[in-house]
């Protein structure tokens, strides 16, 4: 219980933990889906506070991590053009493509800019009419409304020199893909709270029913994660499989309808390649035909690029909850945040990077629940 004193509400945390211990009778494997939850679990050692019966595995919930190598290489190809100002969230700058990353291109003189908001790109586009301004539109459902609004405003205002390189990913199809895999070990999910702020949680109900898994929409604070875990274990022990909401102070079943409407005007669902996992049907957003004038892939005609990931990397298995970072022979040695070999190490929210950041590469693997 060495981490417990760091919790905001020790007594509450201890009470929830005691209740989990009281009700658990069998081994269960739960997956958290949001990168923020992964970060919190590793920082506060929540996985180590839980009874041995409960294993937490870390899902594919970091959009930076799962952006495919092909898409990074496309971004690099576009960013190198002298007529382009390439804009991105800061998290993407150090993500390695096949040859280099955006930060290296910037140091070599390419005009690569970090933006706080996609809306900033419209201002850059207006101020630089002789340039083509491209935004790297990555993210889960939480980020989609912002990126959609930038495209919509450009479309409405006739800002011709603004386009987006879209690599949006969606949570529910990824969960379904994990559950369909013959290697699947996941028996219950902590659903992503802030994603559901936008989307609500109706779309998780068919997944819970079809695959008979409890899904508990959960916040990212330690107390939230403990409570979400308790609610999931309660369902598992009772043989139930439904969607519950641990995070009603922020999330409701319908989500933000205004945001959903605009997202649907700008984007449509399509297949998407995930780094470390491969293509998942209908697991991403792509621009609608009406928005084609703002589609960077079309404008710059970047073709499919042949890429290769290091063979030693097991990030695909880590993303699916089949393996833990410690199961990888390269973890913390050949592969570290300075020299990431794969998806789960490229961003701070990836499972391998989170384990590394909190010193778990220095500890005996035996401390991690066996997988």
């Amino acid at each position: 219980m060495k981490y417990l004193d760091e919790y905001r509400d020790e007594a509450l945390a201890a009470g929830i933990l005691a209740e989990i211990k009281r009700i658990v009778t069998k081994p269960w494997v739960l997956m958290e889906v949001c990168g923020g939850q992964t970060h919190s679990i590793v920082k506060y050692g929540i996985d180590r506070l839980l009874p041995n019966e409960i294993e937490l595995v870390h899902g594919p919930g970091c959009p930076v991590c799962v952006t495919s190598l092909e898409m990074i290489d496309k971004a690099l190809a576009i960013a190198q053009r002298p007529d382009v100002i390439f804009c991105s969230f800061g998290d993407m700058l150090r993500v390695p493509g096949s040859d280099c990353d955006l930060l290296i291109l910037k140091s070599r003189g390419s005009d690569v800019r970090v933006v706080y908001s996609p809306i900033d790109c419209l201002k850059i586009a207006r101020a630089n009419p002789e340039k083509k301004v491209v935004f790297f539109a990555i993210g889960f459902e939480t980020t989609a409304p912002g990126n959609a609004m930038a495209v919509w405003q450009a479309h409405q205002q006739g800002i011709q020199n603004f386009s987006v390189l879209v690599s949006h990913v969606l949570v529910p199809p990824a969960m379904a893909s994990i559950l369909q895999s013959p290697l699947n070990r996941v028996q219950g999910f902590l659903g992503p709270g802030h994603v559901c702020t936008v989307m609500g949680y109706r779309e998780y109900e068919p997944i819970a029913q079809r695959y008979q898994v409890p899904i508990v929409i959960t916040g990212f604070e330690p107390i939230d994660i403990l409570e979400g875990t308790l609610m999931t274990i309660r369902q598992l022990e009772a043989g139930e499989a439904k969607v519950e909401n641990q995070y009603p102070r922020v999330v409701n079943r319908e989500g933000n309808r205004v945001a959903q409407d605009l997202v649907n005007k700008v984007f449509e669902v399509g297949d998407r390649k995930w780094r470390g996992v491969g293509s998942i049907p209908k697991s991403g957003y792509k621009l609608r035909y009406e928005m084609r004038d703002h589609d960077a892939e079309r404008i710059f005609d970047v073709r499919e690029i042949d890429t290769k990931e290091p063979e030693i990397c097991i990030s695909g298995l880590v993303l699916r909850g089949v393996k833990k970072p410690h199961d990888c022979p390269a973890f913390g040695t050949l592969c570290n945040p300075e020299h990431p070999l794969g998806a789960t190490m490229v961003s701070a929210e990836g499972a391998c990077a989170a384990y590394y950041a909190y010193g778990r590469h220095l500890q005996e693997p035996a401390l991690v629940p066996a997988s």
């Binding site: 706080y116 205004v258 605009l262």
Partner: protein
């Protein structure tokens, strides 16, 4: 990067293109926020903001605890990215400073 950050709305306006915008205070850092997705919010409300867009309204207590949790997890770094200001906003900022 999928987490939204709570801030207090200190100003609401409409920009030149008719977009509902505002300014939100995040623990002392003031940033522009698009309010198109939260038509119900008013000045003084707390909103959860992601990449410059308010996604939902939260109460003050929730805003405070979420902000603190994000701070402890060092998840507030995106607020350090400077905003892009257009000419009109730059002159506005200069006259405010003067």
């Amino acid at each position: 990067m999928c987490l939204a950050i709570p801030g207090k709305l200190i100003e609401i306006s409409t920009d030149a293109s008719g977009v509902r915008m505002g300014k939100a205070n995040f623990g002392g850092i003031v940033k522009q926020v698009c309010l198109e997705y939260t038509p119900e919010v008013e000045k003084g409300d707390y909103v959860l903001v992601h990449v410059g867009f308010a996604l939902s309204k939260v109460d003050e207590a929730e805003a405070a605890r979420t902000y603190k949790a994000l701070e402890q997890m060092q998840q507030l770094t995106e607020l350090d990215t400077p905003e892009v200001l257009d000419d009109e906003e730059v002159s506005g900022a200069i006259s405010e400073a003067a």
